[in-house]
């Protein structure tokens, strides 16, 4: 049962990733792609937690910690580039 639910969660996350990828490829403007990128990094945090769960290794969460705290930097860099504040 738990196994099934976990696969369902993984499937949902994967589909979400594909939707975001669609927006990333289609654009149309760079800012749209940045939003897709942002969503993908947040999805990655959940994916890391899921991987840690599946492998049974709590230490993997440190990677999620790094992403949770640093992923917004990339978005801010691009936002500042777009408004010419770099």
């Amino acid at each position: 049962m738990v196994e099934l639910l976990l696969s369902l969660a993984a499937l949902l996350i994967g589909v979400a990733l594909l939707f975001a990828l669609y927006r990333f490829v289609r654009g149309p403007s760079p800012a749209d792609r940045v939003v897709a990128f942002d969503v993908m990094t947040i999805i990655a945090v959940t994916a890391i937690a899921l991987i840690a769960l599946l492998e049974g290794r709590g230490i993997y969460l440190d990677v999620a910690l790094v992403y949770a705290l640093l992923s917004f930097l990339g978005v801010i860099v691009i936002a500042r580039y777009l408004e010419r504040g770099l």
């Binding site: 599946l54 492998e55 049974g56 290794r57 709590g58 230490i59 993997y60």
Partner: protein, 125 residues
Amino acid sequence: MDALSPLAVHAAMATGFLLILLGFYGVLTQRNILRMVVAFTLSTTGVNLVIIAIGYTLRRTAPILDEAVPLAEASARIIDPLPQALVLTAIVIGLGITALMLAYVYKIYQVRRTLDIGKLSELKW
């Protein structure tokens, strides 16, 4: 708990190889230097991925001995740590190299006002 099948390792490795090829293609065909740098970083990532995929050993886990992997079982449970150490180094150096390349791109643009590789022809013979 949930094991990775050989198929996945092969897929990851193929992706790595594909990334290397795509990066090389980009480096060889692009005319804009900045785009060449982008392609170069792409192939760096590909190389790293291939090395990590080679280092993966089936049904084993990361080389960190905590409560999930006690010391006594270490040699039966963990994967080869050496490629990881290698790639870790490569990624950090990769950032240094990227920074260096970008500094040169910046300098070239400052002096020549162009990024087109075709117009930078002093070294041609």
